[in-house]
Symmetry: C2
Subunit: 248 residues, 2 copies
């Protein structure tokens, strides 16, 4: 196959079913959040899924590798990132099940139509625009800060894109949890499952996974906490399972 | 001292600074939730505090024993409970710092006036009215179900009773977390601290402690999880500390 790798990019092995990803050496790299979010989403055979703000395309590629979803669309506003993500899709020969679209989340219904997806997944920028911001035109800043897209834009779009009963799954910092839950209820994606991610059992949570359903009834269910490390400082059993590191 | 104990009541020793509480033998007994909530509230010297739905009066009595609050008011709608709580206050010789008032949370501003308290604390009924309900006129049912008072009544009243910047602290089941956070924001008590209580480190949370401030800015902070038991099945160090069981 003839996949062009640009200068300042490298191919990283996902160590899972031979999947690979192209990333910029000095750019935003996918983290544990993208991996656990892909694992958190419930996927049924033939589902149509969209990842809002796909970046490198890590989430669609992982979901395509792990599940029998029919089609996973990755929407990315930054042209160079979208183009790089599309090359990663090609590299993994996933063209038939993963589609990368360059465009703005705020216009997503114009691109795809309403009520078109079984699931929306998103790992949005964590920081409000203007907070700890160095360079607003920088690719990395756009992935990390709400410069081009706020939390409300993401949730409003998700509500329009989802079929009734469809699922929205998100990972975010707990600092924004009140905003997330208030907006999800406002846009009628009822938050149904909450899972906190802690560095280890006695540490405070630094990530939260939220799953809501369009038109669902109020009643939140807690999921057992996810610990990255166990009490002995080793990766937890669950993290090893998620990363498919069974032998250790 | 001459405190009347009714038939079907007993005096339980709180094993903390000699404090005691009168409880009905077949009625609603205070649990770990009341104890950890009393510990969760930040109390400054000379604070004025109100406990909405005080039941046996356990929370005002514990706060009076633990802190230098000036006055803790316990509001209770059930006359026999309020009367029993008042006897517990006398029994502990806390009459000068704890006042039990029999009345309806919904009318609390009429009783006390607006913006009168530094803190509102509440351990409200956990179950929505009609859910798993056996006998709606039963004392125990009223303490457990939202028969006489819903979550919105509690939060609306708290917002009126609190001074600007005043604190609301609540314990509840996580199932209601979305409702709680949405209502607190709606009534301008911004949720600022969240702490989940788990039976043990790998179990899902079954209680949540929430602290909000009237007129606060949005940004939630997570607190380390509170485990009742540790990974070996013993009471956790923190629970022993809260119960002041230092020797074990």
């Amino acid at each position: 196959m003839d996949i062009l790798i640009n200068e300042n990019e490298s191919i990283d092995d996902l160590q899972y079913k031979g999947l690979k990803i192209i990333q910029k050496n000095d750019g935003f790299k996918f983290g544990v959040d993208a991996v656990i979010l892909s694992h958190f989403l419930d996927v049924k055979k033939n589902d149509h899924i969209i990842d809002l703000g796909t970046g490198t395309g890590i989430i669609p590629i992982l979901i395509a590798g792990k599940t029998e979803a029919r089609m996973i669309t990755g929407l990315e506003i930054q042209q160079d990132m979208a183009e790089m993500a599309a090359r990663s899709v090609k590299l993994n020969e996933l063209d038939e099940r993963v589609k990368i679209v360059c465009g703005d989340i705020k216009n997503s219904v114009e691109y795809f139509g309403g009520s078109k997806f079984n699931s929306v997944v998103t790992n949005p920028p964590y920081m409000s625009s203007g907070r700890g911001l160095v360079n607003p035109s920088d690719t990395k800043s756009i992935a990390r800060h709400e410069i081009l897209c706020g939390l409300e834009d993401v949730i409003r779009s998700a509500a329009k894109l989802l079929v009734t009963g469809g699922q929205m799954a998100m990972v975010h910092r707990p600092q924004r949890l009140v905003d997330i839950l208030v907006l999800m209820r406002q846009y009628k994606i009822e938050p149904k499952f909450l899972r906190f991610v802690h560095p280890s059992p006695y540490k405070r949570a630094n990530l939260v996974l939220i799953k809501g359903f369009r038109g669902g009834n109020p009643e939140l269910k807690m999921i057992e906490p996810l610990y990255i490390y166990d009490e002995h400082g080793n990766y937890s059993k669950e993290i090893n399972d998620i990363y498919n590191r069974e032998e250790k």
